[in-house]
Symmetry: C2
Subunit: 429 residues, 2 copies
């Protein structure tokens, strides 16, 4: 199966103006051609892009997808209140079946907004998550993760092994890989950390964690660990000896950032969640200066409250500027890189750029709308003016999952809407 995209503006951040006009060929699940000149040969399918933008799909490096079920259920609370007094009690009521539909709603929203790969940080009802990811066609790195609240009988290694087996037994796809996630320093004691590390080593898997998200987390960790900040503590226990993707990283001093740089830890910055929960603004410009691989995540919609990487890109650029009173830092081009190829690097995926040999995770953006005019400086418009709704076509691994209002994710969209409304109603009674 060979598809030709023609009449396209093709995003290429290595190019001086950030894109070129040309042609792309996808064969099965891969990009085999991307160039300014028309390729030879026959094609099964020709897509006329009509001067619109063809770009790599977004790589969302921090998501708790089934939490779509809790969208807007509790606003105006800080992380501790929000998580322990509101979110976890609701989560405890969710069934296997509920999680499947929540994951499906999140996948629908993701592909509608041009997200083609997600770092899935949800560890309850793993089988449902895997079923939805497998069925829908989206790309994901699924995390084997530690529960926030556990009792004395909890055996972390065993739980991880069971999640791991579920993932490998339920998904049968080159779209899925696996990572290991410790929830946070505030919910993981040293014994648990060591079993997580042993598991990651035994199965040769990379790591992730929520890191330095709030001042409370940093303060509590420092008091409990003889002055060690969360990154310093993790360094000491060897958490950074394997490849690692750390989410949030809001409250970091220069020593903390140096640790991340020294160990080549990637960061997933989640600006909308951080400002809505009033956690703070991550020092993205300082991270860049240290040479850290910065990527972008939406976080779960219970805190942020939607899955729109355009919104997050706008926030990464503008919050970076205002937080250090310098409008010249963190350009549109840099932010687009964070949302695509930096994310791919962090998650170990062969996506994020339109180059021959990359997997075909592609989206089309309708730039024939008022907010893209005048049509000059397209990179600027993408970061400061565009929004998820501008995406009208989403392809993952060579398969079209969304096109002009139609979802092709294995479940009917109206059925998804009905199910999640029913679940919400039940949760609130």
């Amino acid at each position: 199966m060979k598809t030709l995209f023609k009449n396209a503006k093709i995003l290429d951040l290595d190019h001086e103006q950030g894109y070129y006009e040309g042609f792309v060929v996808v064969q099965d699940s891969k990009i085999i051609y991307a160039n300014q000149t028309m390729p030879d040969g026959e094609f099964d399918n020709v897509i006329d892009v009509k001067g619109n933008l063809l770009m790599p799909g977004f790589v969302n490096t921090h998501a708790h997808t089934p939490m779509t079920l809790l969208r807007g259920i509790k606003d105006d609370a800080n992380l501790q209140q929000w998580l322990f007094e509101n979110i976890i009690p609701y989560e405890n009521k969710l069934t296997n079946e509920d999680i499947y539909w929540g994951e499906m709603l999140g996948i629908a929203e993701s592909v509608r907004n041009g997200i083609t790969a997600i770092e899935e940080n949800y560890f309850y009802h793993t089988q449902s998550i895997c079923r939805a990811i497998d069925r829908s066609g989206i790309r994901a790195r699924i995390n084997v993760g530690s529960k926030v609240i556990t009792d004395e009988t909890y055996n972390c290694y065993q739980d991880f092994k069971s999640q791991y087996d579920t993932i490998t037994n339920t998904t049968n796809s080159d779209r899925v890989n696996i990572s290991v996630f410790a929830h946070s320093v505030y919910s993981t004691n040293e014994e648990k950390f060591y079993s997580i590390l042993k598991f990651a080593k035994d199965y040769d898997l990379p790591l992730g964690i929520h890191l330095s998200e709030t001042l409370k987390e940093v303060g509590d960790c420092t008091i409990a660990n003889n002055g060690l900040t969360p990154p310093a503590y993790l360094e000491q226990i060897g958490y950074f000896d394997r490849p690692c993707l750390a989410a949030h990283c809001v409250h970091m001093d220069k020593d903390d950032l140096q640790i991340l740089a020294d160990y080549d830890v990637s960061v997933s910055t989640c600006p909308s969640s951080n400002i809505k929960l009033a956690s703070g603004i991550a020092p993205v410009f300082a991270m860049q200066n240290k040479g850290i691989n910065v990527t972008i995540g939406t976080d779960g919609v219970a805190s942020n409250n939607c899955l729109d990487m355009f919104k997050e890109m706008f926030l990464v650029a503008t919050l970076s500027k205002v937080s250090i009173s310098d409008p010249s830092v963190v350009s549109a081009r840099e932010v687009l890189s964070m949302a695509t190829k930096n994310g791919a690097k962090a998650m170990g995926l062969n996506v994020g750029e339109i180059k021959p040999g990359k997997q075909a995770d592609l989206i089309l953006v309708n730039i024939n709308q008022p907010h893209f005019y005048p049509q000059e400086n397209l990179l600027s418009h993408l970061v400061y003016s565009a929004r998820g709704s501008d995406v009208y076509f989403t392809m993952v691994n060579g398969k079209i999952l969304y096109q002009n209002g139609t979802y092709n994710i294995g479940e009917d969209i109206e059925e998804i809407y009905k199910k999640v409304n029913d679940i919400r109603r039940r949760l609130l009674t």
Copy 2:
């Protein structure tokens, strides 16, 4: 002409859940009925809203609409650099005809995103602005305003009289009213201020100004005026003795806010512009505490870079939270009020609520999309999850200006696109 809206969720911020299910009747340019029960009578037109949301159009209290022509022309610069070294030199090249098409593009973007009324703060080529506003059908308060750069021969009073005559001669509509605008304390000397005040008094008009937008503005004013901050200086010269709408108000201490409260000055907060130019974050929660009427503006797209009040609402709520490390402040309900009825109050308009007797400035929001599910806590979804593209129908003064991709603003949208691209190309050569 009588139109019935049926099967609607009708936004009403006085209602406990923020909306009710019911019916609205528009006769000519006014709302004559809004209730849960079906009205009697015959209708010329029946619009089935299919369970979607009917809400008042957004009131954008700070816009420089023709600056759409300069969208993305200069990112990553601070206000002084951006304005004096980049924007003004380009503006000097713009013709009467250019401004007409720039205004039209901004109006197209506005109605597409559900903005039904704009405070128009652009003072060059007034006739073109008036022609576009008059022709398009949008509602506007057009400002008679002072030029930023003037020479010694500039007669402010005469210029204002000429702009005023242009507005009254070119527009012939109950959709247009007039205000008087001094650009800022940093571009207006005392003599100019006194002629502006005399003009406003002679013509009995309200006032506006850019106020305390940057630390530089506050510092320079304080040094030049014996320690008076911009609000204190304006109070001293009598600028607040008439009704006033002040844009930005980013750098304000409690004494400054007290002055605004004492004189009932409304504030137009413009968060995206303020963070992109790294000017700062306005103290919106402190304004609310002082009882100040807070409203929302987009500012011009040369700095922000688009006209989407949903984006601004999200930013007002979340930046307020993060800037004082308190997620409980500035709720979705409060922000929706700022973007509608508070704006109407500030601009002296009989709009902003769906109540009998109000002008029919109404929009329909498509809530049958993933990011509105589960469909519970609609106010939260509107502020934290929605975007301008969710609007599919925009009515101003009883006339439909946008519906499902079709613009009804007196010019063909493709012609507008072509014109603004040509103008941009010319500007850059």
